[in-house]
């Protein structure tokens, strides 16, 4: 489905589009650099490797780190990637209004939230669990950030609909189908957090006297789990549509790829209660139901593992390579876009299996809220997602600026250092978690308790891993600046997305009806949550006035 831009599209139009995409990508990468700086300080102070000055507020920095990494870095990258995919796969005359407006609204929301966190008015971590009560402007900022993403989502979906109208009978380009599924899922999921804000904002202003704590928690996780699938879908868009072009391969199967995105659209939302297994007032039947659905959402990831490795192998065989070692050696390991994604995939093997353990109902008692969980989401969002996005930035930014990547050799080393740093940090966190070390604490000393003494060395290894990640992200920043400062224009700005092999079977029509599957996704979300929400509304119980405990 690759469409050459130059010649089809006016050059000025492409330049305008590139500016919007660059704004999203640069904001995203600034967030990860800043977030990593906070991260390394946290790692060292938690391991008590460095003494921190008395004014140092661990939880404030932790809130910033979480918001920057989980909400800002990932979201801006996905909005940028989705716009880039849409603009290039569907070339046409279009207004840049939605892309810019989305970006500006997202930046405004981010700035409002960040200012309040920095001022110490919202040290509530990125989960902002009531009755911890932040400044209303923090909640408003976070809501505005989400609304900004809706503008970008509307732009992606309206282009998808335009393509359908203009090309009846032609399947929507695969990459746009993926981006569309990602944003349809995102609309359904973010409704939860927007409804939560509808309760939190008036309460934070003092207009309502109390808040239903269990309701806010359920609404948060209705959004909180699909949030992680939003990140994964962004990475899958790159894995299916971009990575094969780096080794001369093809999309293994158009239908299987669309099926993967449809399954993610369907099953990302009705799973959130697996974050609430240890909570009172949610009946075990709902917890069991969400265990089943969470196992279901593992299926598209297994399909992806199969399809990506099949594409790898077919490409290697076409070049006459045989056997595992020869196949692996034949890949472009000196290409940072490929190495980023490939190292990310290796980390995702760990992350995927860890996720199944977390989702396993009673087994979650072993790991819930221990630092195992922190290890888990670092080896997922910080592994496959972050590495794929950093690698994709090495591919996208030259395509957007026309400037060749500065020192691709350093970029490959950067992805490698990130991989090892994440491996060390996350394995030691998993290990400490199994030994009972909690997450989200400024330190793990517990007044010299014997049990806690065993956690300390693992926290030091985690901090060392965090230092690798810090070095890696500084290298990324240097490469980004080096690339931006280049004056010579070298790069061919033509973009090709991966295609299916010639002579592939056509995709069944059933797998092309994105919006019909969207309706099914809404139905599934309703079915999964109607019971537990009914229970909560039946007995609202106590309404908490809220407090500031920091």
């Amino acid at each position: 489905m690759g469409i050459a831009v130059t010649g089809v599209q006016a050059h000025a139009q492409v330049v305008r589009e590139n500016k919007v995409v660059l704004a999203h990508i640069y904001t995203s990468t600034a967030a990860i650099v800043l977030g990593a700086v906070f991260g390394v300080i946290q790692g060292f102070s938690r391991a008590s490797v460095i003494g921190v000055p008395p004014w140092f507020d661990y939880y404030r920095i932790l809130t910033l780190h979480g918001v920057l990494m989980a909400l800002v870095f990932t979201t801006f990258f996905i909005t940028g990637l989705a716009l880039f995919a849409t603009y290039r796969a569907i070339p046409r005359e279009r207004s840049m209004l939605m892309g810019w407006l989305g970006w500006a609204v997202m930046v405004l929301g981010t700035a409002m939230a960040a200012v309040n966190i920095l001022a110490g008015k919202a040290t509530v971590l990125y989960t902002f669990y009531a009755p911890l009560k932040a400044s209303p402007w923090f909640y408003i900022g976070a809501t505005i950030l989400v609304l900004g993403t809706w503008i970008v989502g509307a732009e992606v979906l309206s282009n998808l609909l335009w393509f359908r109208r203009m090309n009846p009978g032609t399947p929507v380009p695969l990459i746009v189908f993926g981006a569309g599924a990602t944003f349809l899922m995102w609309f359904i999921a973010t409704l939860g957090v927007v409804v939560e804000m509808y309760y939190l904002i008036p309460w934070a202003f003092g207009w309502t006297s109390g808040i239903n704590v269990m309701l806010t928690r359920m609404l948060f996780w209705y959004f909180g789990h699909p949030l992680v699938y939003f990140w994964i879908m962004g990475a899958y868009i790159v894995w299916y549509n971009v990575i094969p072009t780096r080794y001369g391969g093809n999309v293994f199967s158009d239908g299987l790829t669309r099926l993967t995105f449809i399954l993610l659209l369907l099953l990302s939302t009705p799973v959130g209660i697996h974050h609430q297994f240890m909570e009172p007032y949610i009946a075990t039947k709902w917890k069991m139901l969400h265990t089943l659905t969470t196992y279901g959402v593992a299926i598209p990831s297994f399909i992806t593992a199969f399809a990506i490795f099949a594409s790898f192998e077919l490409a290697a065989r076409a070049r006459g390579k045989r056997g595992f070692i020869e196949t692996v050696k034949s890949f472009p390991w000196n290409d940072p876009t490929f190495s980023g994604a490939a190292y990310g995939m290796m980390l995702f093997i760990l992350g995927g299996f860890g996720g199944l353990i977390n989702a396993s109902y009673s087994m979650d008692t072993v790991v819930h809220n221990t630092v195992w969980i922190v290890g888990h989401f670092h080896v997922t969002v910080g592994g496959p997602v972050a590495l794929t996005f950093l690698g994709a930035a090495y591919w996208m930014v030259p395509k957007l600026t026309g400037r060749t990547l500065w020192r691709p050799d350093l970029a490959v080393i950067q992805t490698k250092i990130w991989f090892y740093g994440m491996l060390f940090m996350s394995i030691s966190m998993h290990w400490a978690g199994l030994m009972g070390a909690p997450r989200r604490t400024a330190e793990v000393g517990y007044l010299g308790a014997q049990t806690a003494n065993q956690w300390q060395p693992l926290m030091v290894i985690a901090a060392a891993g965090g230092f690798f990640l810090f070095v890696s992200i500084i290298m990324f920043a240097v490469i980004a600046i080096g690339t931006a400062l280049r004056n010579e224009k070298f790069e061919d700005m033509t973009v090709q997305f991966a295609q299916t092999a010639p002579g592939a079977e056509p995709t069944p029509a059933l797998l092309q009806h994105l919006f019909r599957w969207g309706a099914v996704a809404i139905a599934l979300a309703v079915l999964a949550y109607i019971g537990p929400l009914y229970d909560i509304f039946q007995h609202p119980g106590y309404l908490a006035p809220g407090m500031k405990t920091w």
Binding site: M278, P280, N369, R440, T441, T451
Partner: protein, 139 residues
Amino acid sequence: MLIVFLCIIGVAAFEDNINPPSGLQAIDPTKVVTTPPFDKPGLRKLPDGSYEAYYVAQVFSFNPPVLKVPAGSKVTFYVTSPDVVHGFLVTHTDINMMAVPGWVNTQTHVFRSRGTYLLICHEYCGIGHQNMSATIEVQ
């Protein structure tokens, strides 16, 4: 593989009654200190020889701070919070619960081996969260 895992969890849940803690009892958080049995937190022996332990998790401590339990005893823990959300994790056991204001959460454990167990809050609850701990002495 997924099906095998699900079968194991399912059998454990339905045959051996191994379920995550899901206390369904409501309580008014503003009256925790006057609501029995949380007005006198601590250990209670039941006629069948097992124990109940009532805990209040509050910023930034657990009440009781020390619990003494005879080795081999079966203890059912009950925990609630009068303020924000707290965690309730006893290291080297499968006791792991959320303490949500307005609700009483519960879980049972048999303490087979002697020693000092660390009870910690594992949900961020404010500036002193890292100091929120207690001990359970199994003698």
